[in-house]
Assembly symmetry: C2
Homo-oligomer: 408 residues x 2
Amino acid sequence: MGQHTFTVVTDGSITSPRGFRAGGLHCGLKKTTRHDLGAIVCDVPATAAAVYTTNVFQAAPIKVTKESLANHTLRAVIVNSGNANACTGKQGEEDAFTMRAAAAKHLGVGEQDVAVASTGVIGELLKMDLLTSGIAALPSRISSESAAAEDFCQAILTTDLVKKEICVTLEVNGKQVTIAGAAKGSGMIHPNMATMLSFITTDAHIDADSLQQLLRETTDLTFNMITVDGDSSTNDMLLVMASGLADNDQLTPQHKDWESFAAAFRHVCEVLAQSIARDGEGATKLIEVSVSGAISDTSARVIAKTIVGSSLVKSAIFGSDANWGRIIAAVGRAGEPVNPETVNIRLGDIAVLTDSKPVPFNEDEALAYLKGDTVQIVVDLRNGPGKATAWGCDLTYDYVKINAAYRT
Amino acid sequence: MGQHTFTVVTDGSITSPRGFRAGGLHCGLKKTTRHDLGAIVCDVPATAAAVYTTNVFQAAPIKVTKESLANHTLRAVIVNSGNANACTGKQGEEDAFTMRAAAAKHLGVGEQDVAVASTGVIGELLKMDLLTSGIAALPSRISSESAAAEDFCQAILTTDLVKKEICVTLEVNGKQVTIAGAAKGSGMIHPNMATMLSFITTDAHIDADSLQQLLRETTDLTFNMITVDGDSSTNDMLLVMASGLADNDQLTPQHKDWESFAAAFRHVCEVLAQSIARDGEGATKLIEVSVSGAISDTSARVIAKTIVGSSLVKSAIFGSDANWGRIIAAVGRAGEPVNPETVNIRLGDIAVLTDSKPVPFNEDEALAYLKGDTVQIVVDLRNGPGKATAWGCDLTYDYVKINAAYRT
């Protein structure tokens, strides 16, 4: 919306914002040789904020991170893959604190300055000897080089093979500010849990409360608007660190460039969220559902998520089937106020339902459109000002194959 | 719970309760030769009650049925398959009223005494010439013979090949009372909508308000506790007719045999609901999730439905994978209060999680159990008195095949 006041930096990474370094390596938690331990480090105390899974069963690392974030400041985050350290009881909690302590020691920062994240197998204790050896070896691998940033991006992945990364730059009161992000999500192979982890770095100077508020609002419009499957796992976390080294005047909602910054931040989160949705287990297509005309934005969000989360809609899209009936059924069961006589539905530019009645359309054109790798479902309820967009993916044979742990 | 005071009548049908006749035929709405038009008729005015889809987009026949049920009395229900008469606008409404009028005329009852139900293709107008010809031919096919009841059961099916039927008998103040039911659901082939239709007949003498209340409460424990996919379609309906010809003292909650009658009624609904769940698209297994120890029954229901509706749990069951992690993740994201440290999970008799920590179990035993056609997931939250049971089915390749309209 409005003018794009930011620029995408195509070769940027999480170490592009000033003050940030990163790195990753293989310490042995994963059975393969792939990287499984990484860290992002900030040269100065960074203003930090996070949002976590709403799942009641929060993994041990989340508890530790919440403690570190109590003073809204971090110097580093240590992340491992290959083991979620979830459902591991008291020992798991102790291990998460030990992980934090080891990272603090070897990175030369205070324990309270380190956040912890884990993803992977659940119900198994961390192999602490391998982990602590890895943490000891990590500092020498940490730099601001793009190769080191790449190592970090790989280290956080579980079964997703595609790293997810974005970097943008903009001006804030004449100073260049960079925002970057790296994420993982949507890999699901027994006995792993789907976990969504996103790490955002920026050199913006911003106060803690403003950053937390911006993160929360943006999460509600992006990461909380994707549905691959199963919604919240035990480990989902989104963490942002702001070094302040861009030296702009402190950002608050009252800053004249606040909206520009928020728009750039939102773009980073939106791109990461969409890439997670597109990389959903077995997915061949990204589905974007845009709802307008709801009674409120909140109502539009519920409806959009219901549509994109519907197995019936998802399988129809997999089959490139212009099945508006399933879309309208999803609208109708979302539990939100809808005028049953004023609904318009488009698939891309192709109108399929107008005033809640089917309209003729070119079947070949629709088929060709639906065979593409991005499908837009556009629903106009014409019943109010509310709008929202949600993202998901198609439901395929590969989804079943991956999640049924099918062994031929 | 408690003693079974009813007996299952294995060769019973919806015409077993006194006063009821039924029949079905093929009138041409379905492209195949299968039956697509049926009716249940009561010799006397029957006390009637119904519950309908909560989907905002209620199909035309539902509107007509609601009008007929305003005085809680019916003589007949006319049902067609092959066309849901949904999303058909004003013409569809007129057609539904015409269908009612034709049935009333040929069955020799008042229009207000006839309920209407449709299932099948959506967005297409009914072929009224074929329908009215069929209705004119129907009376000669209606009888109390079991073959005629069978015709009705077949006439309401869409893609489900398995008819769903149950009949029980019990004593109410010394009089024999029979309750029977026929249902359809869970067939999903483009462009049909999944529709759940259930028809219950009984010769019990019962007042209208008590019947409506019993229906609503029982529906919440049975039909509303199944998840195949997509929950509420545009046409879901559950209808019960009570002829009163058993001549018992009028049943109300104050009747000494009320609990027995309610238990028998619940069993009928439970069996029909489970059979719909088992016949879910592509399903190979019925999944029964029992939750206890929630803070309330309502809370337990939400949790049970979240578990049985989880694609991750459903695919794991398809793969015969004892993946307790996905079950606990579903518990945790249901949005209900849960003590994260006191959860026990069993698969059948096999304990897999105790006090929220994994326990060793015999993998071969678990695999053998999960390969069966009925899987029980038993979750004890140990956090209150609330309990509930929900039913669903596994997520398979065939589900995707059916719903992606995949044509090789």
